[in-house]
C-alpha cells in the first residue's frame, strides 16, 4: 500500500476539479454574457417609434404610402376611420407591398394577402396586420406611436386609441 506512489489523493483531486469547474463555468457565463450583449447593437438604424404624420385632412380615402419607407406605417383611411397599419407581415415578418390595382397588401415572401383594412384573407398569415396607436396632439397634428399595438384577434381594433374618426 505504501509502495504505490500517490501524487494526488482523493481530497486534492476534488479540490482541483472544483476549481476547474468553477473556472469553466465562469468562462461559459462570460461568453454567454458577451453573446447577450452582442444582441443589443450600439447603433440602431431602426425607424423611429413615434412620429408626427401631418394633419387628418391630408389623407384621402384609401391607403397612403408616404410614411411606409421611413417609418414602416401605412396610413389608411377607410369608412370614416383613419388608422396606422403596421407593414410587418404577421406570418414571418416580411414587408408586404401595397398593390393599388388589386386593392390588397401582398407579401413577397410566402404570398400572404391582406385587405385594405389589414384583415388577412390569403396565404399563410395567421392573423391580420397590427395597428399602431394614433392620436391628435395639441396642435391638431396626428401622432403615431408604434410602441403600442392593437390586434384584431384580441378585439383591440375598437379601442379609441387605435383609430381617428374623420
Amino acid at each position: 500500500m505504501s509502495e504505490r506512489r500517490q501524487s494526488l489523493n482523493r481530497r486534492e483531486f476534488f479540490s482541483y476539479i472544483s476549481v476547474a469547474w468553477i473556472a469553466f463555468g465562469a468562462a461559459c457565463a462570460n461568453l454567454a454574457s458577451l453573446a447577450f450583449r452582442y444582441s443589443y447593437p450600439n447603433v440602431n438604424f431602426e425607424p423611429e417609434m413615434e412620429f408626427i404624420a401631418g394633419t387628418p385632412d391630408v389623407y384621402e380615402e384609401g391607403v397612403d404610402e408616404r410614411y411606409k419607407n421611413g417609418y414602416g406605417v401605412w396610413m389608411v383611411k377607410l369608412e370614416g376611420k383613419l388608422f396606422a397599419l403596421s407593414n410587418i407581415c404577421t406570418h414571418l415578418g416580411c414587408i408586404p407591398n401595397w398593390l393599388p390595382a388589386e386593392l390588397k397588401f401582398k407579401c413577397p415572401c410566402h404570398g400572404s394577402g391582406y385587405y385594405m383594412s389589414g384583415i388577412n384573407f390569403e396565404g399563410p398569415a395567421p392573423r391580420p396586420l397590427e395597428r399602431y396607436a394614433i392620436s391628435l396632439n395639441a396642435e391638431g397634428k396626428i401622432k403615431v406611436d408604434k410602441t403600442k399595438v392593437y390586434r384584431w384577434e384580441k378585439g383591440q381594433w375598437d379601442h379609441p386609441n387605435s383609430f381617428l374618426s374623420v
Partner: protein, 358 residues
C-alpha cells in the same frame, strides 16, 4: 405545348405527378437501374432541357447566379440516383440468386491503408473544391444590393437556394411549424436513424429489395418533399410568391384569386351555420381533436395492423413508435399541402391569440 407545361407545373397538378413518378421509379427500379435506361433518358432529357432553356422567360430565371447551384444539384442528384438504382438492381439480382452483394465479394473486401489511399484522395478533393470555388467566385458576381432597409423587402424575397424548400413549406404552415418544429424534427430524425434502424442489411452495399421501408421513406422525404419543393420555390415562384409556370413571364400584376379558410370557420359557419364560439378552445375543438387523433391514435392503430406487428417484432415497441411518429410528422407536410389546394384550408388549429397554428 408550353401552355400545357405551364398548366401542369402548378403544384396542384405537378405534386401528384411527381408522386406517381416517384412510385413508378421505386417500383420499377430494376428497369431504371440499367445503362439502357440511362442512355434513353439522356437522349430525352438533353433535347428537352435545351428546348426549355431557349425560352427567354425560363432562361432569365435559369441563369440567376443563385440558381446555378440548383442546376448542378439536379444533374448530380439525377445521376447519383440512377447510379444507386443501377448498383442496387445488380445486387438485388445477385442476392436473389444467393450470391450476395457485389461489394461483398472477396476482391472487393480487400483492405487498404488510409494513408496514402484516403488522405491523397482527400487532399486532391480539397484542392479541386477550392479551385472550383475560386473560379466560381470570379465568374459569378455576388449580387450586391442596396443597404438593408427594415421597411422594404425585395419582391420576390427568396431565401438562399438550399432553403427554398423550407420557404415553400412556409406557404402552408405557421412559421413555428415550418420554421422551427418540422426542420427540428428533420434534424433530430436524421440523427436518430442509427438508433432506430438497427437492421444490419444494406450496410456497405446498395440494395432496395432488402430495405424497402427505409428506402421508400427516406427517398420520398428527400426527393419529393425536399428537392421538389426546392425546384418549385426556385423556378416556379415569382413576384408576390405567386405561382408562375416555367415559361411564364414574371408579371408583377398577375392576379390569383385565393381565399383561405380555417377549419374552425368551415365547421361553425359552413357546416353548423352558427356564429363562432367565444372561447378559442371550443372554437378550434375539431382541429384539436383531429390533430391529437392523428398523432396519438394513429400510431397504436398502425401497430395493430399486420405490418405494424411485423415491424414491432423486428425492432421493438419504442423504436417502432418513434419511427411512426416521425413518419406521421413527415406526412403532415403533403397532407397539409393537399388540403390547402383542395379546400383552401388555412389552418387546422388556428389560435392566433397564442401564436399557435397548425
Amino acid at each position: 405545348m408550353r401552355e400545357l407545361i405551364n398548366y401542369f407545373a402548378d403544384p396542384i397538378r405537378s405534386f401528384p405527378a411527381v408522386c406517381v413518378l416517384f412510385y413508378l421509379m421505386m417500383k420499377y427500379y430494376r428497369v431504371v437501374g440499367t445503362k439502357k435506361f440511362l442512355y434513353w433518358s439522356l437522349a430525352f432529357i438533353i433535347p428537352v432541357s435545351i428546348w426549355f432553356a431557349i425560352d427567354p422567360n425560363f432562361f432569365t430565371i435559369l441563369i440567376l447566379p443563385d440558381n446555378i447551384p440548383i442546376i448542378i444539384l439536379l444533374v448530380a442528384v439525377g445521376f447519383l440516383q440512377w447510379f444507386t438504382f443501377y448498383k442496387a438492381a445488380q445486387n438485388d439480382a445477385r442476392i436473389e440468386e444467393g450470391l450476395g452483394p457485389l461489394e461483398g465479394t472477396p476482391e472487393n473486401r480487400e483492405k487498404v491503408w488510409s494513408w496514402p489511399n484516403l488522405v491523397y484522395t482527400e487532399l486532391f478533393m480539397i484542392i479541386a473544391a477550392t479551385s472550383f470555388l475560386i473560379v466560381w467566385a470570379i465568374v459569378f458576381k455576388a449580387p450586391l444590393e442596396e443597404p438593408a432597409n427594415p421597411t422594404w423587402a425585395p419582391n420576390p424575397a427568396k431565401a438562399p437556394w438550399y432553403f427554398l424548400g423550407l420557404q415553400e413549406m412556409l406557404v402552408y404552415f405557421d412559421p413555428w411549424m415550418a420554421g422551427v418544429v418540422l426542420p427540428g424534427v428533420v434534424v433530430v430524425g436524421l440523427i436518430a436513424i442509427p438508433y432506430i434502424d438497427t437492421n444490419p442489411k444494406g450496410n456497405g452495399y446498395y440494395t432496395i429489395a432488402e430495405r424497402p421501408v427505409a428506402m421508400w421513406g427516406f427517398l420520398f422525404g428527400w426527393l419529393v418533399l425536399w428537392l421538389y419543393l426546392i425546384i418549385v420555390g426556385t423556378f416556379l415562384r415569382g413576384p408576390n410568391w405567386t405561382f408562375y409556370g416555367p415559361f411564364e413571364y414574371w408579371d408583377y400584376h398577375k392576379v390569383v384569386a385565393e381565399y383561405n379558410v380555417n377549419l374552425s370557420e368551415f365547421m361553425w359557419i359552413k357546416w353548423l351555420n352558427t356564429a363562432m364560439p367565444e372561447n378559442m378552445f371550443v372554437r378550434e375543438i375539431l382541429g384539436i381533436i383531429l390533430s391529437l387523433g392523428y398523432i396519438i391514435i394513429l400510431p397504436p392503430l398502425s401497430a395493430a395492423t399486420k405490418y405494424g406487428k411485423m415491424m414491432i417484432e423486428k425492432v421493438g415497441m419504442i423504436r417502432y413508435y418513434i419511427f411512426i411518429v416521425l413518419l406521421l410528422l413527415m406526412m403532415s407536410l403533403p397532407i397539409k399541402m393537399v388540403l390547402r389546394w383542395l379546400f383552401s384550408l388555412k389552418y387546422i388549429i388556428a389560435l392566433p391569440e397564442l401564436e399557435l397554428n397548425l
